[in-house]
Amino acid sequence: MMAETTQLELVTPAKIMVQKAAEMVVAPGVEGLFGVLPRHAPMLADLARGVIEVHENGKIVNRYMIDGGLADVTPKSITILAERAEDLNAADAADLNVRADNASEAEAEFLRAVAASL
């Protein structure tokens, strides 16, 4: 039987990036990481710069990095509004390291950490 899922939507100003069902979504809140399962209590959360993880069958299937944003959680869905988002499945560690060299200090540190985790 298919496990219960919550509907994930990742929206940027340019387009709707992701629309899919997920078993669990982990998002980087300003007060720490939080996981969202189906039937989560309604919540609005401010997001910090970090990585969103999408879990399916107990494994991480997609990772997206965002530069801060907003999460709107309902029992059936999680909608994330982010000004900038990138799919890490399509990202390249070498490319991220190059970008880190040109970025501001805090951003560079984050980009290197992401690159190292790829």
Binding site: A14, A41, L44, D46, T74, P75
Partner: protein, 293 residues
């Protein structure tokens, strides 16, 4: 009566104008598709953003709250952000923006308010420079077309937010062309500060707005959300305006191409008639010359 040679030159010149307008029309049509997609794909983000703000605002009493949401209690100084095109030849696009700006400025000034203008796009800024130039606080160019980035909107948003916090104005409004369809654009006024709140919309599927958890606290969340909302609304306005500009240009150039076609037909008719008249005249001369012999 112009000579045959004059007519020929005239027809050729109209023909080359027609080639230019029809090329411009096709370029605009190709770009429009992309710009329209960008505008339509940008809508979910700004719609959700205003929904969330709306539901957050519904919980506040409209007096106490972040100044960006409820205003600073005054409305003496106004800032109008006017978004027009950098280029002309797009029908009434820039004209209608300019006209609305002029009416809005005189309406506010008649009510005793101070008005400042932030001009995005060259055309309206040029058109109004003589009468309203001293009200400009900034002129921006090159922010349109198919490659508008959120960073541009973000930097304008930051300027507006800083100006508001420094007390340079109390109310901020954007004037732009909203894209309705390829043949209709709507000149729109949207208030940015205090935030325009759509009431009556429920955020959650369950409608349980009051039971929302906030992380961090509600007012902190609002404080970080509202500046973001300004950039978002601006970004949306610029995208809509770009799509409208291309649509307006496409329609205008289509009309121009058709008019040029009509003109060519008319001129060709005159050309043929006068050619025929010349031939007839020459024949009559020959015949009457032959009869005289």
């Amino acid at each position: 009566m112009p000579s045959l040679k004059d007519l020929k030159t005239r027809i050729n010149s109209v023909k080359s104008t027609q080639k230019i307008t029809s090329a411009m029309k096709m370029v605009a049509a190709a770009k429009l598709r992309r710009a329209q997609e960008a505008a339509e794909q940008g809508r979910p983000y700004s719609d959700r953003m205003s929904q969330i703000i709306g539901s957050l605002a519904a919980n506040s009493d409209g007096v106490h709250g972040p100044a960006l949401l409820v205003g600073n209690g005054k409305s003496d100084k106004h800032l109008l952000v006017v978004i027009s095109a950098d280029r002309g030849l797009c029908g009434g696009f820039n004209g209608s923006i300019t006209r609305l700006t002029r009416t809005e400025v005189s309406r506010l000034q008649a009510a005793g308010k101070t008005v400042n203008l932030l001009m995005v796009g060259r055309k309206s800024a040029d058109a109004l420079r003589r009468e309203l130039g001293k009200l400009y606080i900034d002129r921006l160019e090159g922010i349109q077309g198919t490659n508008v980035s959120f960073a541009d909107a973000y930097s304008i948003g930051a300027t507006i937010k800083n100006g508001f916090e420094a007390g340079e104005f109390d109310v901020c409004t954007v004037i732009y062309n909203k894209f309705v369809s390829a043949i209709t654009q709507e000149v729109t006024l949207t208030r940015l500060i205090p935030a325009e709140v759509e009431s009556g919309k429920e955020l959650a599927v369950d409608g349980a707005t009051a039971n929302y958890d906030y992380e961090p606290e509600e007012d902190e969340l609002l404080a970080s959300l509202l500046p973001r909302n300004i950039s978002t609304q601006l970004y949306k306005a610029i995208l809509e305006s770009s799509a409208s500009e291309l649509a307006a240009r496409m329609t205008a150039m289509d009309n121009a191409t058709r008019n040029a076609g009509d003109l060519i037909d008319r001129l060709t008719l005159v050309y043929n008639r006068s050619r025929q008249a010349t031939i007839t005249k020459e024949l009559i001369e020959i015949i009457s010359g032959a009869e005289a012999v």
